[in-house]
Subunit: 340 residues, 2 copies
């Protein structure tokens, strides 16, 4: 059994964009760990990281990596999670997995700690961290759902490069430099130019339905986290040339008439959510102000215009894709594990 | 009376981003004009432009500028239009105005030539060019509305810097350079950083409703162009760091069940609209491919996911804000004027 009072924690994929943030979150939140092991591919093995003043050398991930590990935070892609997640679990660790590998597995809880912490304890050794767009949306709309049931969600995303990893963030930067210098573009991380552009999310598309995987994740993961498949969710996932904070424009159809003041109060009382909703100053959530922040920011709260607007609510939210959308949420799950 | 068979055309605001595109459209479309006069503020007067091999010197706009002018294309801001539009009209010109000054005036038709050309002939000397986001949306959805009435529109925009003028486009470029060089940002055209960011549209907001002017324009102008105030339209207008093509994610609630094939056929048959809707290649409309193009591009056509999806349609469209969103539409209106 994993020692959850003073655990040995491993970060798998520690050199990636999310892995780096996991290390930072563990340090900043004073996570009570007895030892930190950093695991990565052969290419990144040997790299050193400073953690609480201590230098830790990254090791190459192998089947024996998890011998004394109590909690393993995975963020190295679905393939690595599928192969090494069960190995880590069988070695006695509790796995918190940031990939999509186990999210829809009925044996694996899918958790946003502010929303369904009770699901954490139902784990069988693997707990899944939801998709970034799902987390950011649900942080913003769950407080509303709890007071006035959401029947329908129409959401359009403005997703940052970081969702495709550190190489994609570098590509946004390098393409921007190339375009400003009039040089030819290099295109590796994304199928289309990301600098000064917007394009439909680059995950595989179901040709029959016309929905890509990112959109399908937002639908299915919401149903699982809310334990409610009756909510109709229609996402359109779009990438734009921002670095690390996703934004989402959300339309909600509610069961009862919109009470804006009550909704503002509910959002203000939600841990991990901050309101930025200043109509008089035209000041609302923005990716650049959200980057590096733990909270999901919510604003542009208003009734829909026209029609059956009494029961329809609009909002705009932003969340740091690497933090609450990935690393922070995983570390928060681990914090709940050690509290029990 | 204006001579509309071989007109003397004036462009007011000829040195602006839209004015420059107006000159280009007139040249490229071989607009049958007898003479072109370029008018601008004192600051830009004296500048020369080449038009069909001829050098034209920009003159300073004044009350006597319109003496022999038959058609005056205005794009110098609402204040200039309000002051000089009536002067041009009273001097005998037909005014095509790209500002918001006359759009909601019941005496002024508001026209997208592919949609309501019949309204052009109802003018009393001033014809208004709609807002760019309205034009781009209506080009994409009017063919659908004509075959299966649209009851509700939920739209989220991804708007380019060009909508705020040439200085705003330069600001996107200069801020990008500054950020990549680690230098302090200059912020003049926009209230917030536009490079690598997204923010709620910088038009004045109605504090009571929570809608900004850009959003209100999309609602009211659609009602006027369609001659139908019963359509419920809820826009969320967001600026992103692209240069000159707007994108829009649109959800439609229709009167009858969605027939995707019939909708594709209708869109393919719409002048000024091109379908880019390749699910198997994940290839859809993008701002960078739309820039400099006359057409509005439409894709991601699909039924809504879940719920009452039978009557709900999703799509994503892009249009060049300076061309179909402004200059081209104005020149097309002028072309209709001279054809009659």
């Amino acid at each position: 059994m994993a020692n959850l009072s003073n655990p040995h924690v491993a970060v798998v994929g520690s050199s990636g964009a999310v892995g780096q943030e996991m290390i930072r979150c563990l340090a900043e939140r004073n996570f009570p760990l007895s030892r930190l092991t950093l695991l990565s591919s052969a290419r990144s093995a040997g790299k050193t990281e400073t953690f609480r003043g201590e230098t830790i050398t990254t090791q190459e991930l192998n089947r024996d990596s998890f011998k004394d590990v109590d909690i393993a935070l995975f963020s190295a892609g679905g393939g690595i999670s599928k192969e090494y997640g069960p190995i880590a679990r069988d070695a006695g660790a509790v796995v918190v997995d940031n990939s999509s590998a186990f999210r829809m597995d009925p044996d694996c809880p899918l958790v946003i700690p502010e929303i369904n912490p009770e699901d954490i304890q139902k784990h069988n050794g693997i707990i899944a961290n939801p998709n970034c767009s799902t987390i950011i949306m649900l942080m913003a709309i769950t407080p509303i759902h709890r007071m006035n049931r959401i029947k329908k969600v129409i959401v359009a995303t403005y997703q940052a490069a970081s969702g495709a990893g550190a190489a994609a963030m570098r590509e946004l930067e390098s393409q921007s430099r190339q375009l400003l210098a009039g040089e030819p573009l290099t295109m590796e991380a994304f199928p289309y130019q990301i600098a000064f552009n917007a394009f439909s999310h680059n995950s595989a598309m179901d040709v029959d339905s016309g929905y890509n995987q990112e959109e399908t994740k937002m639908i299915k993961e919401t149903h699982k986290i809310w334990h409610d498949e009756s909510v109709a969710i229609t996402p359109t996932c779009i990438r734009i040339g921002t670095f690390r904070a996703h934004a989402e424009s959300i339309h909600l159809e509610l069961e009862h008439p919109v009470d804006l003041e009550a909704i503002r109060t509910a959002l203000s009382g939600m841990p991990g959510v901050s309101l930025i909703d200043d109509r008089s100053k035209n000041y609302f959530p923005m990716p650049i102000e959200t980057s590096g922040k733990d909270d999901v920011f919510v604003g542009r709260l208003r009734k829909a215009a026209g029609g059956s607007a009494e029961r329809e609510l609009e909002l705009f939210c932003c969340g740091d894709q690497l933090l609450k959308g990935a690393a922070l949420n995983a570390v928060q799950i681990a914090e709940h594990l050690i509290q029990k």
